[in-house]
C-alpha cells in the first residue's frame, strides 16, 4: 500500500524553542490508530550528528495533557484504539550524555 507522506504531515505539528533538528518517521499511516512514529533528533538539518533526547508522551483529551508514563524516554510510540479521537503529543529535550 502506498503511503501519502504529504497527507500524513498534515497531521503533525512542531512547536518550541529548540535548537536541534527533529525528524519523525511514520510507519502505517497517520492519522489512523494503526500507525507508529519514531522521533529522532540531530544537531543540524544535515542530520550528520544525532543527539540523544529525553522524551515524554502525552495523550491530549479534552484539551488536557495526560502523561503516558510507560512510554517515557522511548522515542517510539505505537498508536492504539485508545488514541482514537485524541492527539498524541511528545515533549522533547536534548539529553546531556555526560550525566
Amino acid at each position: 500500500m502506498s503511503i501519502d507522506l504529504q497527507n500524513q504531515t498534515r497531521y503533525m505539528s512542531l512547536t518550541g524553542d529548540h535548537t536541534f533538528y527533529i525528524e519523525a518517521a511514520i510507519k502505517g499511516g497517520l492519522p489512523y490508530q494503526n500507525s507508529t512514529v519514531v522521533v529522532y533528533a540531530f544537531e543540524n538539518v544535515d542530520k550528520a550528528i544525532p543527539i540523544q533526547i529525553r522524551i515524554k508522551w502525552f495523550r491530549v483529551v479534552g484539551g488536557r495533557n495526560y502523561e503516558i508514563s510507560e512510554c517515557e524516554d522511548n522515542n517510539t510510540f505505537i498508536f492504539s484504539a485508545a488514541d482514537i479521537g485524541s492527539t498524541v503529543r511528545a515533549a522533547i529535550k536534548a539529553k546531556d550524555i555526560r550525566g
Binding site: 505539528s13 492519522p31 500507525s35 485508545a82 482514537i84 479521537g85 498524541v88
Partner: protein, 145 residues
Amino acid sequence: MATISFGPILMHPEAKKEVHHLLLNSAEICNFRLLKYNGIYIDDGKSFENIIKFNGEKITFKFEDPKREDFSIDIKGTEGLQVKHSVKNDRDLTILFLDGYQQYNECAYQQEKPSLGEDNHQEDDGEEEAISFLDESQKMTPQLI
C-alpha cells in the same frame, strides 16, 4: 524544548468494517464499552456500566450516574450504529471494542449526529454549554512541520 503533536487520531477505515462484524456477533458484544459520549471522554470507562441488554438489534447501556438516562443504540445493517433514544445533544459517540483476549482490538466507531426527527424527551440539565466548550477545545488545525 520541542513539542511535536500527532493527530487527531482516527479509526482506520478497515477497522470500521471489523466493527460491523463484531456487532453482529452477540458473543463478542460483551467486550464493548464507551470511550466518549456527548462530547465528553470517558477516560477510565468507569462512568458507565457495560451493556445491560443486547437482543440482536439493540444495545442498551446503563449510566452509573443516576442523573443520566440509560440509552440504547440500534444496529442497522452495514450503516453501523445509530442512536435511537438518548439524552439531549447526542453526538460524538465513540465505542471501544475489546477482543476475546481482553486486548484492544483497534475498533471504535464515531457516531454521526442523530437525525433531526429524533424524539428527545430529556430536560436541559445545564450540561450543554460545557459540552460546547469541550468540542471547541478539541478542534485541531494541522500544520506542516
